[in-house]
Amino acid sequence: MGDKRTGNAGIYPAVGTWADTLAPILLLLALLLTTIGFVLSFIWAPPVYGASVNGVEVIGGQVVSNVLLISQKIFYFHMPVAITSFLALVAAAFFAVRFLMTREARFDTMSRVCMEIALVFVIMTMATGVMWTRFEWGVWWTWEPRLTTYFILMLIVIGYFILRNAIDDPERRAVYAAVLAIIAFVDTPICFMITRLVPSSIHPVVLRQGGGMGVSMIVPLLMIMFGMVMLGFALYRLRLRSIVLEQKCDALTETLEDQRESA
C-alpha cells in the first residue's frame, strides 16, 4: 500500500468485475434450480428399485433381495455435490500451479478460496454418502471406493487448512499450500483407482439394476447439477470478495500503524 511505484499488481485477485455482478444472480438461480430439481426428482422421476444384493441382505431390519427405495432420491443431491466438490479441487490445483509459476499472492488467495469451497461440498458429499450407504446398503459406513476416496479427500482438505494455520511466514505458507493442493489433486484419483481395482472379497458386490435413465430422471439431475456448480461458483466469488476486502483492510491498518509510530 502507498507504494504506487511498484503497484499492487498480483497482490489481490481482481474483484468487483462482471463475475461479482453475476454472483448474486447466479446464487439465486442456483437456489431456484436445485429446489425445483429436487422437487421434480420426487414428483416426476419414478421410484427406482434399490440395490440388488447378491442373494438376500438385511436392510433396516428387513430381509430383502430387492426393494423399492425412496432413498434413491439422495442420489439427485449426492452426485451433483460430489462433482462440484471435485471441480473446486481442480480449480484449487490450477491456481496452485499458477501460483508456483508466478509467485503472485493473488493466486494463493484464489487457490485457498477454491479449497474452502471444496471442503464445503466434500462435507456435503460425505453426509449424503453416509445416508446413502445406510438406506441402500443397510450400514452406516462401508469402505466402498467412492466413499473411501471422499473420506480421504476430506481429511486431506482439512489437513490443508491445518497446514495453513501452522505457518506464519506468508510466502512459505503459500508455497506449501500450493504444493499440497497439487498433491491432493493427483492423490485423489489414485486413491479411487486403487480402492476400486484392488480385488476384495469382503464387501458385497453391489449392482444397480437397469443402466438407463429416463428423461424424467435426467432432467432433474441436470438441473441440480447445474444449480450446484453455479452455487459453488457464486459462493467462490462472494467469499473471494470478502477475503480481498479483509486483506486490503489489514494492509491499510498496518500502514496506518506504521505511520502513527513514526510520527
Partner: protein, 231 residues
Amino acid sequence: MGFFEQYRVLLRKDLTREFRSKEMLSSMGIYALLVLVVYGAALSQTSKGLDILQMSGGLIWALIVFTSMLGLNRSFAFEKEQGCLEGILLAPIDRSTIFLSKATSNCLFLLVVELITVPLFAFFFLGGVTLAPSWPLIVFPLLLGSIGIAGVGTLLSTITLETRGKDVLLAVLFVPLLFPLVYACVAATTGCMVGSEGFMTTYLRSLLLAGGYDIIMLSLSWALYDFVISA
C-alpha cells in the same frame, strides 16, 4: 561434479551420521516394539480360532506406517538444528539431488527397521499358524511400500519442518496421502501370506497399483521439491 557424486556424498553423510548417533534407528525400533506390545494387549481377548493370518497384513502395515512417521520427523530435524540444511543449499547442487538422497536414506532406515520388526511380529503373533508357502513374496510389497513412504514422506517432512506442531501435522498429511499405497500393500501382503486360491491375481494387481502409486507420487514429489526446499 556430477549428480551421482553429489548424491553419494549426501547419502554417505546421512548413513555415517545415523551410524554414529543411531538416533533414528533406535527410536523407530523401540517404537515398533511398543506397538507390538500394544498389539499383544489388543489381541489378548480374541478366541483361539481367530484367523490371525487374515489380519496380519494389516497389522504389519499399521506398524510400518506409525513407525515410519517417527523416523521421518527426525530425518530433517537434525538438518535444521545447526543450520546444516542451509549449508547444503549453499553448495552448487541441484535441489532434486537433495530429495533423492534423503528419500534413499529414509527408505534404507525404514527397510532396516522392517527387517527387525516384521520377523518379530511373526515371532509374537504367528507362532501357532502355518504360513502359505508363498510368504517370501512379502518382500515386494514391503519394498514398494517403503519406497513410496520414504518418497512422499520426505516431501511432507520438509514441508512440516518449519511449522508449529510439526509432529502432529506430519501425521495429518501423511496418513491420508499414503492411504492408497497402504491399501494396495495390505492387499498384496495379506494375499501372499494367506495364499488362498487364486491369490496371485490379487497379489500381482495390488503390486502393480502400488508400483504405479510410487512412480506417480515420487515423480510429483521430486518435481515439487525445489519449490518446497527453497521456500
